[in-house]
Each structure stands twice: as C-alpha cells, then as structure tokens.
C-alpha cells in the first residue's frame, strides 16, 4: 500500500557492523517511554532482556558466529518494530484506531482502543507485538511523539557509533548503497519496511528472516473472506426479495384445490 506519506516517509537505518552492543539504545528507549525494568536471569549470553517485551521495545540480539578469519565474532542486531508499509498487525486488528499509521509512516498504537485480542502478534511476520501487564499491545512506535516534534527517536539519539540513523527513508537507502552496502534489508519487503538494515554479510547470519510475509491465512481472509461476508449477506437479501416478488410465498389454499 503506497500512500501519499511515501515521499516524506521516515525510517531508522540500522548498520549492524557499526554496532558495538553497548545497549544504550535499550536504555534510552526505556527512559523516554517510561518503561518498567524487567527482572531477568543470566542465561549465558550478554543479550538482556532475552527478548522483546511489553516493557522492552528494542533489544540488541547477540549472536556468536565464528568465521575462519575471526574465531571470536559477535554479531549485534538492534531489533524493534519494523514499521512495515503492508503491516499484518494493522490488517488483522479488529479495533479501529488501536493501530494507526503516523504521517511519517510509523505504525503507532492507542492503548485505550486496543481490546487485547492479541491477533496482531499472530499476524506479525517479525514476532514484534508484546503486551503490557494490562494485556494491551505495546511496541516501538518510532517515538511518534518525538518525530512529530522534529526530534529523532530516542534510540537513534543516543547511539554513539551511528549504527542507528534516522531520517528520510529514500535518502537513508541511497546513502547506504553509496557506502557500499550490498543488501538493504527491508527496502522492498512488505511494501518497504520502516526499519531497514544495511548489511555486507548475509542478513540470515544475523538471524534475519529471509522472506518476511504476512501469514497466508490472514491475506486470504482479508482479500476474500471479508468481502464475501458482505456479498453473501447482500446476496441473500437480494435473492429473498427477488423470490418474494417473482415466485411469491407459499400458498396453502391453492395447493388444496390442486390436490
């Protein structure tokens, strides 16, 4: 779905090879969005918290992927909502306004309108939506409040190495390509993602999905079943009206005479 916001669509560009895994972005996100801390246990990795959570909108994913020349190689991947242009969560959400598109192209949410059905997390190709203690959806909203006031998202603001950049989506992509990054992950996927990644290695190495898609059943439901329910109901009403006028109701008296 390309809309009129495409021109000024904003994005976060993640360049994982510049990331030093300091997790300042996690802290800045918690600070700005006033998210409660999570008590976690050491599970043998520096990745902490272990996963996205209702109070953790972004995390750095640590993967140890040794190579021939580099026996000790850590890959750091900053994860958050991808702000898909064709967003599965928005497609499946049954409550109007609970998930909405900001003018900058982010997928934001309204706690009050969320009904806590959790369908959004089933339809998300990236397993992003999480839920707060109130059972309502919470995730990264690209700091919609900050970018509306011409500031950068808090994670980008705090990143010390430039592994996170924020700006005009098209400009970020062309700049990254000029710098020699072969793969811009999310350039075209799902209508173009709002969180894009500049890779020199295979994105798979970092644990990225190869072909992110909205679940087929959700696409089928949206494309065929939804219209069919209205057409079906309308068809029955029309058919009943035609039957009533053209053939007419059951007449008991006439029958008796025939018999």
């Amino acid at each position: 779905m390309t809309n009129d916001t495409t021109k000024k669509r904003k994005a976060i560009l993640v360049t994982p090879e510049n990331c030093i895994g300091c997790r300042a972005c996690q802290v800045a996100c918690k600070s700005w969005n006033q998210l409660d801390p999570i008590k976690t246990k050491n599970n043998g990795t520096y990745q902490n918290p272990p996963d996205l959570a209702g109070t953790a909108f972004n995390i750095i994913q640590f993967s140890e992927v040794p190579s021939q020349i580099d026996p000790v190689r850590w890959l750091f991947l900053s994860r958050r909502c991808m702000h898909c242009d064709d967003a599965g969560c928005m497609t499946i959400c049954p409550s109007p306004g609970a998930l909405f598109r900001t003018p900058e192209g982010a997928v934001a949410f309204d706690h009050k309108k969320c009904i806590g059905c959790k369908l959004c997390s089933s339809a998300c190709p990236f397993d992003v939506p999480r839920y707060g203690a109130d059972g309502k959806m919470s995730k990264c909203n690209l700091c919609a409040d900050r970018i509306a006031a011409d500031m950068t998202p808090s994670c980008v603001k705090t990143c010390p190495t430039g592994a996170l950049k924020f700006g005009d989506r098209d400009e970020l992509i062309s700049a990254a390509q000029k710098e020699g990054f072969k793969t811009i992950y999310g350039e075209k996927d799902l209508g173009g993602l709002g969180t894009i990644y500049a890779f020199k290695d295979e994105p798979k190495l970092y644990g990225m999905l190869e072909n992110p898609t909205i679940p087929t059943s959700v696409v089928f439901w949206h494309t065929y079943l939804k219209p069919l329910s209205l057409i079906g109901l309308g068809g029955v009403v029309a058919a009943a009206a035609i039957h009533y006028l053209a053939i007419g109701p059951h007449k008991e008296e006439e029958k008796e005479e025939e018999v």
Binding site: S95, L119, S121, Y244, P249, E254
Partner: protein, 201 residues
C-alpha cells in the same frame, strides 16, 4: 375457533430465542469488528466492551446450541425417499405448480440447515474459544481466526435464508417460533406424516 396443534414445546421456543438472539447479536458485533464499524462499537460504549459482550454472547450461543441437540439432532439425521423427492422439486419454492411430497415434522431443507448450523456453529464456538483463551499460541490463533471467519461467512448466508423461509416465504410460520402452535388444518397439509404418526390425521 380454529383447532390448533403444538409443534414446538416451550422448551424449544425459549432455547431457540436464546440461540437466535445471541446469533444475531454475535453477527452484528462480528461485522463491527470485521469492518471497523464505529457506529456498532458505540452502541456498546466502545470496542473493548463490545469484545466482552461478543465473548460472553458466544457462551450463551454455545450452551444454547448444545441444548438444541436433543431437540433436533436425531430427526435431522433421518431422511427417506420423500425427502429425496423434496429436493427434486426444490421444496416447491421455485414453482407453485409442482407437487411437493408429503413431509414429516421437518422438511429435509430444515434438517440440513440444522446440521449446517451444528457443524459451523461448533466450528465457530471452538475457534472462538481458541481466540479467547489461546492468545499466546500463534498456530492456534491463526487457525482459529480462519475457521472463525469461514464459519461466519457460511452462517451469515445460511441464517438469513432461514429467517426469510420462516417468515415471509411461509406465512404463518413465525407464530410457531413465538407460541409453538399451528392450525391442525395446515399441519395436516404441510406435515401429513407427522400428523399421522401422532394419530391426528
């Protein structure tokens, strides 16, 4: 005074009202969710409350459908040669000139309709339980979501057909739903095999 005969017991009437009432409200709220109809949400004071109402109406619908089984299930599974002939003349609905074979208490259209409501009704109930209680299981959620919606499409087509046939298409039928009675004279013509079976022919 026209001599009347009881076709539906009070038990059946009350249960059918619960089934019908919950079904219509579930469909209405379902359309509200499906097409983001703010006007429907507003009736319930917002979509949050509408979700609660939809879920609990589902429980009423489930109990009522379960209870209806002992009213109609056995009869809806029995078909004879007259029933086959009934299909050949389309129940007399496409022409008033054809001869409709003698029927029992319910015609095969009604019996098949009931079986469809049972099948898709339980499909929509079980998938509804999936959507309500298994929110953290992606596979269950996606499967339930598609089953819930396929069943919805079937029911949203089948139920209005039933409503039309039970009212406008067959004058006098509506009162059976309300007080359970129909004139014996009509019953002898419409349901001869049933009337014979109860010895009032």
């Amino acid at each position: 005074m026209v001599e009347m005969i009881r076709k539906s017991s009070t038990d059946e009437i009350v249960n059918h009202l619960i089934l019908a009432g919950s079904c219509i409200l579930l469909m209405l709220t379902g359309f509200g969710f499906l097409f983001h109809v703010d006007a429907i949400g507003s009736v319930f004071g917002g979509f949050n409350t509408m979700k609660t109402v939809h879920n609990w109406l589902g429980i009423a619908f489930a109990l009522s459908l379960l209870y209806s089984l002992h009213h109609y299930l056995i009869e809806s599974l029995e078909y004879d040669a007259d029933d086959l002939q009934w299909f050949k003349v389309a129940g007399g609905y496409l022409s008033h000139k054809v001869k409709v074979p003698p029927m029992g208490k319910y015609n095969p259209g009604q019996k098949l309709y009931y079986l469809a409501v049972v099948a898709f009704g339980f499909a929509i109930i079980i998938s509804g339980i999936g959507l309500w209680f298994f929110q953290d299981n992606r596979t269950v959620m996606l499967l339930s979501h598609i089953i819930h919606n396929v069943s919805f499409v079937v029911l949203v087509i089948a139920v209005p057909v039933h409503m039309y046939l039970g009212t406008l298409a067959n004058p006098g039928t509506l009162q059976i739903m309300v007080n359970g009675m129909m004139p014996l004279k009509d019953a002898r013509k419409k349901h001869p095999k049933w009337i014979k079976a109860i010895g009032k022919m």
